[in-house]
Amino acid sequence: MTASVTEDVVKPWGRQEMAARLARDIPEGWYVNLGLGLPTLIPDHIPAGREVVFHSENGVLGMGPVPPKDQVDTWLVNATKQNITLVKGASLFHHADSFGMIRGGHLDLCVLGAYEVAENGDIANWATSQNDAVPAVGGAMDLSAGSKRLWVLMEHTTKDGLPRIVSRCAYPLTAACVVKRVYTNLAVIDVTERGFEVLDMAPGVTLESLQACTDAKLRMAG
C-alpha cells in the first residue's frame, strides 16, 4: 500500500474479488483464453448458466474445471500442463488450428497477467530484462497480438509499491498497442486514444490516491 492511500478507508480488491470483477464483464457467448496466474481464477466467477467457452492454446475449446483426484484423465492438460476436464460441447484440435484461432482474431477475449501496461496499450509480460538466462515466451505474443481484445489482470503496483501502469514500458514488450482494459486490485481502467480512463475503483480509492501510485496520467471515464 502506498503512503498516499489512507489504510483505514481503502479496501483493495482481493485476488478473488479482482477475478470476480473481471468475470462480471464477460458476456454470454464469448470465447476466452486465460493466461497464467490470476486469470485462472476467473472461471469460478462466471455466473451459473452463462455460457462462456474457455480456450486452451494447446488445443482445447470448452475447458472445464480441475478434476477430483480420482477422476483425472492424464491425457488432458491445459496450457500450464495441469490436468483439466472438458465440458459438454468441447472440441480438441492441433496447435496450428489453435493458434489460427488466436492469430485469426476468433477469440473474443484474452486475459493475461503483466509486469507493465503502458498508456498506448503496450504490454510487457514475458521477460524482465534484455538478458534473461534462458528466455521463454510461450504463446503470450500470439495471444496479445491476435485476440479481438486483450484485458490485463494484475496488481496495481509491484510488491515494493512501484507503478506497473506506466507511460512507457521499461521491460521488453510482448506486443505493442493491444491492451484494451486493465483490472487491478485498486481500479478498472480503460486504455483509450486519450490515454487511461478510470471506469471503477475499489472502495475508498480516490482518483488522487490512484494517480499517486500510477506512472501515467489518469482521468475519469465519461
Binding site: K81, H94, F99, V134
Partner: protein, 226 residues
C-alpha cells in the same frame, strides 16, 4: 502391399543422420513420444537441431539428449522449467536457443508442410523476437515475415495407427503432432494401438497416412498426473 509398420524402435530410427533437424511432438510430456526419444538417444545421431515446444518438462529423455552433448540447437517457445542439463550448456555457449512464439513455431512447421516458403504474422511485431526480420504493412497493419521450418525427421506419438500410417490422437496429446507429422522428410510414429486397415473411421482420421513413413507399436505409459 503398403506396410509402414516396423518391428522395433531401433528399426524406426534407422538412418537418422548427424546434423538432422528433428521435430519432436508433445506439449510438455503429453503427446511426446518417449520411447522414440529413448531410441534416438541409443541411435547416436549428433549435432541435432531439436524443435520442441518445451525443453524436456516432465520427462528425463530430452534433458538426457542435451546432457550427452548431442543437440547443437533447440527451437522452442517455452524452455521452462529449464532442465539443468540445458541451462549449463546454454550458459557455456555450447547449445543455441532459437526462441520462437508458440503459434509461430506451429505455423512455420505448417508452412513447410504445405509448400509455403514464408508468411507474414502480426505476432511479435514491435518486440525483440522480430528484430532483424522483414517487416511489412498490409491494409494498415504491421506484420513480420517468418520462414517455413523444414525438417529432416519428425518424432510423433499417436493413439491409434494402421499399416498405411493413418493416425488418431488422444486428448491434448494431439498438440503439435499432426502438423509436425506433415512437415518432415521422414516421419516416424510410435502408436499406443496398432489396428487393422479399415478399422479407423475415415471421418475421424486426423493424420492421413501419406504424411507418415514408419510406424512402431509401443505400449507406452499414460502421462503422469499433473
Amino acid at each position: 502391399m503398403i506396410d509402414k509398420r516396423v518391428a522395433s524402435i531401433a528399426e524406426a530410427l534407422a538412418g537418422v543422420k548427424d546434423g538432422s533437424v528433428v521435430l519432436l511432438g508433445g506439449f510438455g510430456v503429453v503427446g511426446q513420444p518417449q520411447e522414440l526419444l529413448e531410441g534416438l538417444i541409443a541411435q547416436g545421431a549428433r549435432d541435432l537441431t531439436i524443435v520442441s515446444n518445451n525443453a524436456g518438462f516432465g520427462s528425463p529423455m530430452l534433458p538426457k539428449l542435451f546432457g550427452l552433448g548431442r543437440v547443437a540447437k533447440l527451437v522452442c517457445s517455452f524452455p521452462r522449467p529449464t532442465p539443468p542439463a540445458f541451462e549449463e550448456l546454454f550458459k557455456a555457449g555450447k547449445i543455441a536457443l532459437e526462441l520462437v512464439p508458440q503459434g509461430t513455431i506451429a505455423e512455420r512447421i505448417r508452412a513447410a508442410a504445405v509448400g509455403v516458403p514464408a508468411f507474414y504474422t502480426p505476432t511479435a511485431v514491435g518486440t525483440r523476437l522480430a528484430e532483424g526480420k522483414e517487416i511489412r504493412e498490409f491494409d494498415g497493419r504491421t506484420y513480420v515475415m517468418e520462414r517455413a521450418l523444414h525438417a529432416d525427421v519428425a518424432l510423433i506419438q499417436a493413439w491409434r495407427a494402421d499399416r498405411w500410417g493413418n493416425l488418431t490422437y488422444r486428448g491434448t496429446g494431439r498438440n503439435f503432432n499432426p502438423v509436425m507429422a506433415m512437415a518432415a522428410k521422414l516421419t516416424i510414429v510410435q502408436t499406443r494401438h496398432m489396428v487393422e486397415l479399415g478399422e479407423l473411421d475415415p471421418e475421424s482420421i486426423v493424420t492421413p497416412g501419406i504424411f507418415v513413413n514408419r510406424v512402431v507399436h509401443v505400449e507406452s505409459a499414460d502421462p503422469p498426473p499433473a
